[in-house]
Amino acid sequence: MTAAAPRINQDLLRPLLETSWRFYALVLCLGALVAVGVGAWFYQVYYGFGVTGIRWPIYWAFYITNFVFWIGISHAGTLISAILRLVNAGWRRPVTRCAEAITVFALMIGALFPMIHLGRPWLFFWLIPYPSERQIWPNPRSPLVWDFFAIATYLTGSLLFLLLPMIPDFALVRDKTTGWRKKTYGMLALGWQGTPKQWHRLESAMQIMAIAIIPVAVSVHTIVSFDFSMAPVPGWHSTIFGPYFVAGAIFSGIAALIIAMAALRRFLHLEEYLHPVHFQNLGKLLLLMSLLWAYFVFNDRLMIWYGNEPAEMAVFWVTQRGSFAPLHWAMIVCNFVIPLLFLTHKRVRTITGCVIASVAVCIGMWLERFLIVVPALGHKYLPYSWGSYSPQPVEILVTISTVAAMILLYVLFAKFVPIISIWELKVGEQSRLPTPEAMREHPLWQANP
């Protein structure tokens, strides 16, 4: 045990053991917002979908935008933490758990939207393959059914990926506390004693999960993009959508992670654990994804422009300089201009700079999804059937309340679980002395002794 261990314990277990009135106030506010959203949704179910803004022919709008947005946010965590684990990047240690938690909660919220947006939500279980007495299974050709499998797999995988490294920390909480905490965390620790055998198994399991989760994460947002690209709708039917959506998902995910880390750092006083260098590194990653995203967007637009297909050009013009142009150019500013301004130079890539860029990216990526869903549906082949959309209060309330639900879940999580992996941090403190073989410098003249 290193000298820093007692301090790490004390700092990171503090949020679990001490609760200020501000926590209750925050939970109450967020809970109220969630309740309003649930109420709005019941209102919609009771009176009919007509209380929303959707109309012929724009049958998908805010809810599907939110669905894609939240599934996108979920790509922060697990993917980043898996990649950083696999390449054994030392700076990952304080970052991984807050990232993985984002994944799990964003997925839970994203997965609600296919149910929220159903015309008959009480029959949502027909999307799930269950042995019904009439032997009717969901249609395996439908991208919505692929969504179900993709999201269920990703949720299971990322939940395991989150829970596995939590076991030693649960054991620590069990050992450091008394009363109901000792009992509860004792159960959650699954009999963890810290024997070499247990450590070995944990490390192997995490290695397997880290490798397995990467293709799953990539496939999930590819399949979400298939919801659009499989339909012969101008502006949707594009081969680029798979990687374009995955890039956008990781982009918005990193932004969400930076915001969450900055908030945790500030409110849980984790300045000594989440250093400016973490934001520097994630800021660089965000900049990279911003450039990649811009590359995909440019590609997409260029192909449409050169293809010059009348139906696609209608969608193109309405987003570039028609009624959706203000949103479109706001998206470009949020996703490209602001990240470029705040992330390219080391001096502005501070924590504040990273947070400003990240908030812009989250807004921009939400707009991007909206601009994929709505203008295309409003401008299909027959000009007679073109239409426009404006959201109604119920959709706005449900959207706001899911943001509140995300924050609420995160706040509760940080209350009951050490938000920074304590044991991994201690390993990091310890392993400063010998560098592992794979991480060492290998000069040319020593490569083949």
Binding site: Y47, G48, F49, G50, I54, R55, W56, P57, I58, Y59, W60, P114, H117, L118, G119, R120, P121, L123, F124, W126, L127, I136, P138, N139, R141, S142, P143, L144, V145, F148, D227, M230, A231, P232, V233, L377, K380, Y381, L382, P383, Y384, S385, G387
Partner: protein, 229 residues
Amino acid sequence: MARKWGIAVDLDRCTGCGACVTACHAENNIPTVGAAEAARGRAMHWIRIERYWEGEFPDVRVKFRPVMCAHCDAAPCEPVCPTYASHHTADGLNAQVYNRCIGTRYCANACPTNVRFFNFFNPAWDKPFHLQFNPDVSVRSVGIMEKCTFCVQRIKAADSAAKADGRELKDGDVQPACAQSCPAKALVFGDLQDPESEVSRLSKSPRGRPLLDLGLLPKVTYLSRQTDV
């Protein structure tokens, strides 16, 4: 022999009178949503008359185009439905199974011609329309999709009648409400599998073309105006 029902629409004959739309509403128990809701894009017309103007005033020409579900043989609405509510029947109809529909609205998004309609509210009829329901057609509830069925209830009734009489259906035995009520006979319905039927003959006309050339194998053929050929 399996049938392949289809319609030939002669654009030269269509006057845009809207009798087909009215007849369709009456035959299929389609609710009228009222002016306010219609303005919000909630009107449901299984068949609609699209109007396009050409030229500048006063030299204006108006063109009408009746548009209904084309019951495409490669319909994009069918594979995307997660519950098989939208599916192809043996005689080539693109059927909507109301009981299976959970309202994802994916089919309507996938449809390039926007001929599918969502029930935003439970249906209601202004008096005295509530007294003229067609007993052969079920009323659709809130939250599900509906669309042109080629008046499947009439096809089934004619089938049963022919079977009872021990004869084959002949061309003209089945008329959907729109074709029946068209005063200009712009809509001709029949079996495309039967080479002798009027609809087959018209569909093979050099004037015939699909509404959209997307390779969806639609069974509604539009006969171009002579002036446009």
